[in-house]
């Protein structure tokens, strides 16, 4: 990175954080600290919900998913529209009517104190771990690429987000997210435009799509009914709806965003904004990865995108076997490129049979190159020691670093950090709020004044920020980063959703039955996760269904009519 890149990066990060602190100075009451000033318009809520979900991992790792696996990953988001409509119709009006600070306060009203604490504890465990990943994921990728010290990057970015989130509370999160998502969109659109401009001049739009489709990169929808396939239409629509319903409906980091609206209308429109925009947004990011794949068919790609592997190759240049892998890979790529150039020419000349023959030869050469890459990957020390040297997370950043001009590099690195800080700040704000309201004021000090709660909330926010930094410093991930975050969520979210589904829709079940049902269902999900090989998208559905069914069975066994009020009558 050049001096210009550092100016863009540091200037934007510090500028936004400083503006957030300045804009929210003087927020002293518990209501304004946790809810904001209740004047947030729908567009700001919509951007805030989007920024909270879309972390740096989304923008770093998703193009790599598109490069390696094509558009199929978009199916995970098929559940978003339906889930957000359900939340807008059923969840949001009740959260607003009760004027709760956290979603788990509602469980306390509907059931009892122990169920409220269980819901809050499930949130704190999974979101506390997730917050560590949110800060670790971009740091590991960026420090590997740029050679920055990992620990220092984690600590600096972690402390920055702690400072402005502690200082300004919920409003600081919303205010900064607006500008952070602006930087993210500016960076991604710039990268997209420059990438399109860098594609070979003779390659038309339909040529590009035909080439990507020929390599199976445009297989966006898979109607397979196999539960072992990770991304299918059905796992996305059914499993994805439950995953998204759990995330948006029961995760305090999201609930806190949309209950802070000026009215029910603002919250609903903010959710509908995301329901409409989420699939096209993810499609665009994946398409970016597919276009990078097309770009690298005409430009020599590195044998490995992961710099650690590349550095190993350089350090062991004397190893004839490794040198042979690199030479063979380059040769296979050159052969594939030559055939693809012939394919483009044949297409433009209208010679279908020559085009088909050229593409078949190019596919064979490409396949050969991938086999060489896989064989070379097995020689890497990370593979030999059992760790995974995942290339997907490094594809986009490698492209940025080697193909884009200075200034734009700084803008995109700023976009990654902006994404990390925006989701991180919302998570810390939610963790601090939940610990204060559901544990400190509910269990430890019931007569705490609002002023004491604000101080406690600031302390808990800082505490969770430090926990996240500590977790990030010692985190070692086994899979692609974005999948690791989604898998972690899917293990806990189903049972959390089950608690809320029973609360909203099953009147006869009381607190004791649902509490033990949730404990049993969470145990079941853990057992299934470690013993089955089904797609992780199914676990929210399984956890939710198990919680609802078991609560009905336990309630029947207890043999008593619940005295709890139905959700619609809770007040």
């Amino acid at each position: 990175m050049s001096a210009l890149d550092f100016v863009v990066l540091i200037g934007s990060m510090l500028g936004i954080a400083g503006y957030g602190i300045w804009r929210t100075r003087g927020r002293r009451s518990l209501e304004t600290y946790l809810h904001g000033d209740r004047k947030t318009p729908w567009f700001a809520i919509g951007l805030s919900v989007m920024a909270t979900q879309a972390s740096a991992i989304t923008f770093l790792s998703t193009p790599g998913q598109g490069y390696l696996g094509g558009l199929g990953f978009v199916q995970i988001y098929f559940g978003v529209p339906l889930a957000l409509i359900i939340i807008a119709v059923f969840f949001l009006p009740i959260f607003r009517r009760l004027n709760v600070y956290t979603a788990y306060e509602f469980l306390g009203r509907r059931f009892d104190g122990k169920t409220r604490l269980l819901g809050a504890a499930l949130f704190l465990v999974q979101r506390g771990l997730g917050a560590g990943l949110t800060i670790y994921a971009p740091a590991i990728v960026l420090t590997t690429v740029f050679g920055w010290p990992l620990d220092l990057t984690i600590i600096c970015s972690g402390l920055l987000v702690i400072i402005y989130t502690v200082a300004g509370g919920s409003d600081a999160v919303t205010v900064t997210q607006k500008y952070q998502i602006g930087i993210i969109f500016a960076g991604m659109v710039t990268a997209f435009c420059l990438l399109v401009a860098k594609l070979p001049s003779g390659l038309s739009f339909t040529d590009t799509l035909a080439l990507a489709g020929g390599f199976q990169k445009l297989n966006a929808v898979n109607f397979s009914t196999s539960i072992h396939e990770r991304y299918t239409f059905w796992s996305g629509l059914l499993g994805g709806t439950f995953l998204m319903l759990s995330y948006f409906g029961t995760d305090q980091s999201q609930v806190q965003r949309y209950i802070s609206g000026a009215s029910l209308r603002e919250g609903r429109l903010g959710l509908m904004f995301n329901a409409v925009c989420k699939i096209p947004m993810q499609f665009s990011i994946l398409l970016l990865g597919v276009l990078i794949f097309v770009f690298y068919q005409f430009e020599p790609p590195p044998l490995f995108f992961n710099p650690t592997s590349t550095q190993y190759l350089v350090a062991h240049n004397a190893d004839e076997k490794l040198r042979a892998y690199e030479a063979d890979f380059n040769s296979a790529h050159a052969q594939a490129r030559q055939q693809l150039e012939g394919w483009v020419k044949a297409r433009h000349d209208g010679d279908q049979s020559a085009a088909a023959a050229a593409f078949t030869a190019a596919s064979a050469a490409h396949q050969q190159g991938e086999q060489i890459r896989a064989a070379a990957s097995d020689e890497m020390p990370a593979k030999k020691t059992g760790a995974t040297a995942n290339d997907a997370d490094y594809v986009f950043i490698t492209f940025i670093l080697h193909q884009l001009p200075h200034g734009v590099i700084g803008l995109l690195v700023a976009a990654f950090f902006a994404a990390a800080l925006s989701s991180k700040s919302a998570e810390l704000n939610a963790l601090g709020s939940c610990t204060t309201i559901d544990f400190y004021r509910h269990l430890i000090k019931r007569d705490a004044t609002d002023a004491a709660c604000v101080i406690a909330s600031k302390c808990f926010t800082a505490f969770w920020g430090l926990v996240a930094i500590g977790f990030a410093l010692y985190a070692h991930l086994a899979e692609n980063l974005i999948q690791a975050v989604n898998i972690l969520g899917s293990i806990f979210y189903g049972v959390m959703l089950g608690l809320f589904v029973v609360a909203f829709f099953v009147r006869r079940v009381g607190g004791t039955a649902v509490f033990w049902a949730a404990v049993a269902a969470q145990t079941l999900v853990f057992i299934l996760y470690f013993s089955l090989t089904i797609s992780y998208l199914w676990y929210p559905l399984i956890g939710c269904a198990a919680c609802v069914l078991l609560s009905l069975i336990i309630q029947a066994a207890l043999g008593e009519t619940s005295k709890s009020a139905p959700a619609s009558q809770v007040s």
Partner: protein
């Protein structure tokens, strides 16, 4: 525990959307589902046509 304010209690399903083309929430939700169907159809077409 805080109690709902009068302002929040008055919020209901009949609250106006304030949007130029969608005067009811039902219309907004149908538009969202319609846009979902549009994107899925587009992605299916992309899959079928280019694979």
């Amino acid at each position: 525990m805080k109690h709902p304010t009068a302002a929040e209690s008055s919020e209901s399903e009949t609250e106006a959307t304030g949007l130029p083309f969608f005067h009811s929430w039902k219309g907004v939700y149908l538009f969202v589902l319609g846009s979902f169907v549009f994107w899925v159809a587009l992605l299916v077409a992309l899959t079928k046509y280019f694979s």
